[in-house]
Protein backbone atom coordinates (compact mmCIF):
# COMPACT_ATOMS: atom_id res chain seq x y z
CA UNK A 1 0.00 0.00 0.00
CA UNK A 2 1.21 3.44 -0.84
CA UNK A 3 1.59 5.68 2.19
CA UNK A 4 0.43 9.28 2.21
CA UNK A 5 4.07 10.36 2.25
CA UNK A 6 4.91 8.39 -0.90
CA UNK A 7 1.93 9.87 -2.69
CA UNK A 8 3.10 13.30 -1.67
CA UNK A 9 6.65 12.62 -2.88
CA UNK A 10 5.22 11.61 -6.24
CA UNK A 11 3.16 14.80 -6.33
CA UNK A 12 6.23 16.87 -5.51
CA UNK A 13 8.34 15.10 -8.11
CA UNK A 14 5.66 15.73 -10.71
CA UNK A 15 5.49 19.39 -9.73
CA UNK A 16 9.26 19.88 -9.69
CA UNK A 17 9.27 20.67 -13.41
CA UNK A 18 8.29 24.18 -14.62
CA UNK A 19 6.72 22.87 -17.85
CA UNK A 20 4.49 20.51 -15.88
CA UNK A 21 3.49 23.34 -13.54
CA UNK A 22 2.65 25.49 -16.57
CA UNK A 23 0.53 22.63 -17.95
CA UNK A 24 -1.35 22.42 -14.64
CA UNK A 25 -1.86 26.17 -14.60
CA UNK A 26 -3.34 25.92 -18.11
CA UNK A 27 -5.60 23.04 -17.04
CA UNK A 28 -6.82 25.07 -14.07
CA UNK A 29 -8.65 27.14 -16.71
CA UNK A 30 -10.33 24.07 -18.19
CA UNK A 31 -9.88 20.85 -20.19
CA UNK A 32 -7.44 20.84 -23.09
CA UNK A 33 -6.11 18.45 -25.73
CA UNK A 34 -2.42 17.52 -26.08
CA UNK A 35 -2.19 19.76 -29.17
CA UNK A 36 -3.61 22.71 -27.26
CA UNK A 37 -1.27 22.05 -24.35
CA UNK A 38 1.80 21.80 -26.60
CA UNK A 39 1.06 25.11 -28.32
CA UNK A 40 2.66 27.58 -25.88
CA UNK A 41 5.79 25.45 -25.37
CA UNK A 42 8.73 25.02 -27.69
CA UNK A 43 8.64 21.27 -27.30
CA UNK A 44 7.20 18.44 -29.34
CA UNK A 45 3.88 16.75 -28.72
CA UNK A 46 5.57 13.48 -27.67
CA UNK A 47 7.55 15.47 -25.07
CA UNK A 48 4.31 17.01 -23.79
CA UNK A 49 2.75 13.54 -23.71
CA UNK A 50 5.63 12.37 -21.50
CA UNK A 51 4.96 15.21 -19.08
CA UNK A 52 1.27 14.35 -19.11
CA UNK A 53 2.10 10.74 -18.22
CA UNK A 54 4.05 11.89 -15.15
CA UNK A 55 1.18 14.15 -14.08
CA UNK A 56 -1.32 11.35 -14.67
CA UNK A 57 0.72 8.86 -12.61
CA UNK A 58 0.88 11.38 -9.77
CA UNK A 59 -2.91 11.59 -9.95
CA UNK A 60 -2.75 15.31 -10.72
CA UNK A 61 -4.61 14.99 -14.01
CA UNK A 62 -6.88 12.53 -15.74
CA UNK A 63 -7.37 11.95 -19.47
CA UNK A 64 -10.48 11.20 -21.43
CA UNK A 65 -10.74 7.80 -23.09
CA UNK A 66 -11.88 8.92 -26.54
CA UNK A 67 -9.29 7.50 -28.95
CA UNK A 68 -8.32 10.66 -30.82
CA UNK A 69 -9.14 13.60 -28.61
CA UNK A 70 -8.08 12.61 -25.12
CA UNK A 71 -8.82 15.79 -23.19
CA UNK A 72 -6.68 16.37 -20.10
CA UNK A 73 -8.38 17.48 -16.92
CA UNK A 74 -7.01 18.73 -13.62
CA UNK A 75 -7.67 16.32 -10.75
CA UNK A 76 -7.72 18.51 -7.67
CA UNK A 77 -8.09 15.49 -5.38
CA UNK A 78 -4.32 14.94 -5.35
CA UNK A 79 -4.00 18.44 -3.96
CA UNK A 80 -6.69 17.97 -1.34
CA UNK A 81 -7.28 16.06 1.81
CA UNK A 82 -6.50 16.82 5.39
CA UNK A 83 -3.05 15.22 5.37
CA UNK A 84 -1.96 17.32 2.43
CA UNK A 85 -3.32 20.49 4.01
CA UNK A 86 -1.45 19.76 7.24
CA UNK A 87 1.68 18.94 5.32
CA UNK A 88 1.47 22.18 3.37
CA UNK A 89 0.98 24.29 6.49
CA UNK A 90 3.80 22.45 8.21
CA UNK A 91 6.14 23.10 5.28
CA UNK A 92 5.18 26.76 5.20
CA UNK A 93 6.06 27.01 8.89
CA UNK A 94 9.27 24.99 8.41
CA UNK A 95 10.28 27.52 5.78
CA UNK A 96 9.49 30.39 8.16
CA UNK A 97 11.57 28.78 10.91
CA UNK A 98 14.46 28.38 8.47
CA UNK A 99 14.32 32.15 8.02
CA UNK A 100 14.03 32.60 11.79
CA UNK A 101 17.23 30.54 12.24
CA UNK A 102 19.00 32.75 9.67
CA UNK A 103 17.79 35.89 11.43
CA UNK A 104 18.95 34.63 14.84
CA UNK A 105 22.36 33.73 13.40
CA UNK A 106 22.67 37.26 11.99
CA UNK A 107 21.66 38.68 15.36
CA UNK A 108 24.31 36.61 17.17
CA UNK A 109 26.96 37.63 14.64
CA UNK A 110 26.05 41.31 14.98
CA UNK A 111 26.22 41.09 18.76
CA UNK A 112 29.58 39.39 18.67
CA UNK A 113 30.87 42.07 16.28
CA UNK A 114 29.55 44.93 18.40
CA UNK A 115 31.03 43.41 21.56
CA UNK A 116 34.41 43.32 19.80
CA UNK A 117 34.22 46.88 18.56
CA UNK A 118 32.73 48.29 21.79
CA UNK A 119 35.94 50.02 22.96
CA UNK A 120 36.30 51.63 19.54
CA UNK A 121 32.68 52.78 19.60
CA UNK A 122 33.13 54.25 23.07
CA UNK A 123 36.09 56.32 21.80
CA UNK A 124 34.03 57.51 18.82
CA UNK A 125 31.13 58.48 21.08
CA UNK A 126 33.45 60.52 23.31
CA UNK A 127 34.92 62.21 20.28
CA UNK A 128 31.46 63.07 18.98
CA UNK A 129 30.47 64.41 22.39
CA UNK A 130 33.54 66.68 22.41
CA UNK A 131 32.64 67.89 18.90
CA UNK A 132 29.09 68.67 20.01
CA UNK A 133 30.42 70.62 23.00
CA UNK A 134 32.71 72.68 20.79
CA UNK A 135 29.98 73.58 18.33
CA UNK A 136 27.60 74.87 21.03
Amino acid sequence: MQTAHDALSQTFAALADPTRRAILARLAEGEASVTELAEPFEISQPAVSKHLKVLENAGLISRGREAQWRPCKLEPKALQGVDHWLDRYRRLWEERFDRLADYLAELQAAEAASAQSAPEKARKTKKAARKRKKST
Binding site: F12, A28, D87, R88, R91, E95, F97, A101
Partner: protein, 155 residues
Protein backbone atom coordinates in the same frame (compact mmCIF):
# COMPACT_ATOMS: atom_id res chain seq x y z
CA UNK B 1 -25.28 23.64 2.84
CA UNK B 2 -22.76 24.08 5.63
CA UNK B 3 -19.18 23.18 4.74
CA UNK B 4 -17.53 20.08 6.09
CA UNK B 5 -14.84 20.68 8.74
CA UNK B 6 -11.84 18.45 9.45
CA UNK B 7 -9.37 18.66 12.30
CA UNK B 8 -5.67 18.04 12.44
CA UNK B 9 -2.59 18.82 14.50
CA UNK B 10 1.05 19.19 13.59
CA UNK B 11 4.14 19.81 15.69
CA UNK B 12 7.47 21.33 14.67
CA UNK B 13 10.35 20.87 17.07
CA UNK B 14 13.44 23.02 16.43
CA UNK B 15 16.63 23.88 18.29
CA UNK B 16 18.15 27.32 17.65
CA UNK B 17 21.65 28.50 18.57
CA UNK B 18 20.31 31.50 20.45
CA UNK B 19 19.05 32.06 23.99
CA UNK B 20 15.28 31.86 24.70
CA UNK B 21 15.14 35.66 25.16
CA UNK B 22 16.38 36.16 21.58
CA UNK B 23 14.06 33.55 20.08
CA UNK B 24 11.11 34.91 22.04
CA UNK B 25 11.84 38.48 20.94
CA UNK B 26 11.77 37.33 17.30
CA UNK B 27 8.04 36.70 17.91
CA UNK B 28 7.44 39.69 20.16
CA UNK B 29 8.98 42.53 18.16
CA UNK B 30 7.27 43.65 14.95
CA UNK B 31 10.59 44.47 13.25
CA UNK B 32 12.13 41.11 14.12
CA UNK B 33 9.03 39.13 13.16
CA UNK B 34 8.89 40.85 9.77
CA UNK B 35 12.30 39.31 8.98
CA UNK B 36 10.97 35.76 8.96
CA UNK B 37 7.17 35.66 9.19
CA UNK B 38 6.16 35.81 5.53
CA UNK B 39 4.30 33.86 2.89
CA UNK B 40 5.89 31.65 0.26
CA UNK B 41 8.34 33.01 -2.35
CA UNK B 42 6.75 35.62 -4.56
CA UNK B 43 4.20 36.56 -1.89
CA UNK B 44 4.06 40.34 -1.60
CA UNK B 45 3.29 41.95 1.76
CA UNK B 46 0.40 44.44 1.67
CA UNK B 47 -0.26 45.06 5.36
CA UNK B 48 1.27 44.06 8.68
CA UNK B 49 0.28 44.86 12.25
CA UNK B 50 1.47 43.36 15.53
CA UNK B 51 0.07 44.20 18.98
CA UNK B 52 1.96 41.72 21.14
CA UNK B 53 0.02 41.39 24.42
CA UNK B 54 -2.73 39.06 25.67
CA UNK B 55 -5.86 40.14 23.78
CA UNK B 56 -3.73 41.96 21.19
CA UNK B 57 -4.06 41.25 17.48
CA UNK B 58 -1.78 40.50 14.60
CA UNK B 59 -2.55 40.90 10.90
CA UNK B 60 -0.55 39.97 7.85
CA UNK B 61 -2.07 40.54 4.43
CA UNK B 62 -0.27 39.69 1.21
CA UNK B 63 -0.69 38.89 -2.45
CA UNK B 64 0.41 35.77 -4.33
CA UNK B 65 1.89 36.24 -7.83
CA UNK B 66 -1.46 34.99 -9.18
CA UNK B 67 -3.20 37.98 -7.61
CA UNK B 68 -4.96 35.97 -4.87
CA UNK B 69 -4.83 37.81 -1.53
CA UNK B 70 -4.12 35.94 1.73
CA UNK B 71 -5.12 37.28 5.13
CA UNK B 72 -3.70 36.04 8.43
CA UNK B 73 -5.55 37.41 11.43
CA UNK B 74 -4.61 36.34 14.94
CA UNK B 75 -5.27 37.13 18.59
CA UNK B 76 -2.86 36.40 21.46
CA UNK B 77 -4.33 34.54 24.42
CA UNK B 78 -1.37 33.68 26.59
CA UNK B 79 2.09 35.22 26.74
CA UNK B 80 4.79 34.23 29.24
CA UNK B 81 8.05 36.03 28.36
CA UNK B 82 10.81 33.72 27.09
CA UNK B 83 8.58 30.72 27.84
CA UNK B 84 5.29 30.49 25.94
CA UNK B 85 2.97 32.13 23.41
CA UNK B 86 -0.56 30.93 22.62
CA UNK B 87 -2.59 32.53 19.85
CA UNK B 88 -5.51 31.69 17.59
CA UNK B 89 -5.71 32.70 13.94
CA UNK B 90 -7.81 32.38 10.84
CA UNK B 91 -6.60 32.29 7.24
CA UNK B 92 -8.46 33.74 4.31
CA UNK B 93 -7.55 33.43 0.66
CA UNK B 94 -9.41 35.92 -1.51
CA UNK B 95 -12.23 36.25 1.03
CA UNK B 96 -12.67 32.50 1.45
CA UNK B 97 -11.98 31.36 5.01
CA UNK B 98 -9.84 28.24 4.72
CA UNK B 99 -8.78 27.46 8.29
CA UNK B 100 -8.98 28.42 11.95
CA UNK B 101 -6.07 27.38 14.18
CA UNK B 102 -4.81 27.42 17.74
CA UNK B 103 -1.02 27.70 17.95
CA UNK B 104 1.20 27.13 20.97
CA UNK B 105 4.87 28.10 20.89
CA UNK B 106 6.93 26.69 23.71
CA UNK B 107 10.50 27.92 24.41
CA UNK B 108 12.94 25.87 26.51
CA UNK B 109 16.52 26.55 27.39
CA UNK B 110 18.69 23.73 26.08
CA UNK B 111 22.46 23.86 26.55
CA UNK B 112 22.54 27.61 26.06
CA UNK B 113 20.40 27.33 22.93
CA UNK B 114 16.64 27.20 22.65
CA UNK B 115 14.35 24.33 21.92
CA UNK B 116 11.21 25.75 20.33
CA UNK B 117 8.16 23.52 19.99
CA UNK B 118 5.42 24.85 17.71
CA UNK B 119 2.07 23.04 17.92
CA UNK B 120 -0.77 23.99 15.61
CA UNK B 121 -4.26 22.56 16.08
CA UNK B 122 -6.29 23.24 12.97
CA UNK B 123 -9.89 23.26 11.92
CA UNK B 124 -9.69 22.94 8.15
CA UNK B 125 -12.82 24.25 6.52
CA UNK B 126 -14.22 22.21 3.69
CA UNK B 127 -10.96 20.43 2.72
CA UNK B 128 -12.56 18.18 0.08
CA UNK B 129 -15.27 20.41 -1.19
CA UNK B 130 -15.97 23.64 -2.94
CA UNK B 131 -12.74 25.41 -2.05
CA UNK B 132 -10.46 23.26 -4.16
CA UNK B 133 -12.71 23.60 -7.15
CA UNK B 134 -12.53 27.35 -6.91
CA UNK B 135 -9.79 29.12 -8.73
CA UNK B 136 -8.34 30.87 -5.69
CA UNK B 137 -8.28 27.58 -3.84
CA UNK B 138 -6.25 25.99 -6.61
CA UNK B 139 -4.01 29.03 -6.78
CA UNK B 140 -3.46 28.86 -3.02
CA UNK B 141 -2.58 25.18 -3.24
CA UNK B 142 -0.08 25.81 -6.01
CA UNK B 143 1.41 28.70 -4.08
CA UNK B 144 1.99 26.48 -1.08
CA UNK B 145 3.28 23.60 -3.14
CA UNK B 146 5.79 25.83 -4.87
CA UNK B 147 6.98 27.06 -1.49
CA UNK B 148 7.27 23.49 -0.31
CA UNK B 149 9.27 22.57 -3.40
CA UNK B 150 11.58 25.52 -2.91
CA UNK B 151 12.12 24.44 0.70
CA UNK B 152 12.79 20.88 -0.46
CA UNK B 153 15.40 21.84 -3.04
CA UNK B 154 17.21 23.99 -0.48
CA UNK B 155 17.75 20.96 1.74
Amino acid sequence: MSPQVSHGTFVIDRVFHACPAHVFSAWASADAKAKWFNGPDGWELLERKLDFRPGGEERAVGRFPSGAVSKFHSRFYDIVPDTRIIYAYDMYVSDTKISVSLSTVDFRNENGGTRMIYTEQMAILDPQGSLASREEGTVWLFGNLEAALAAQTQK
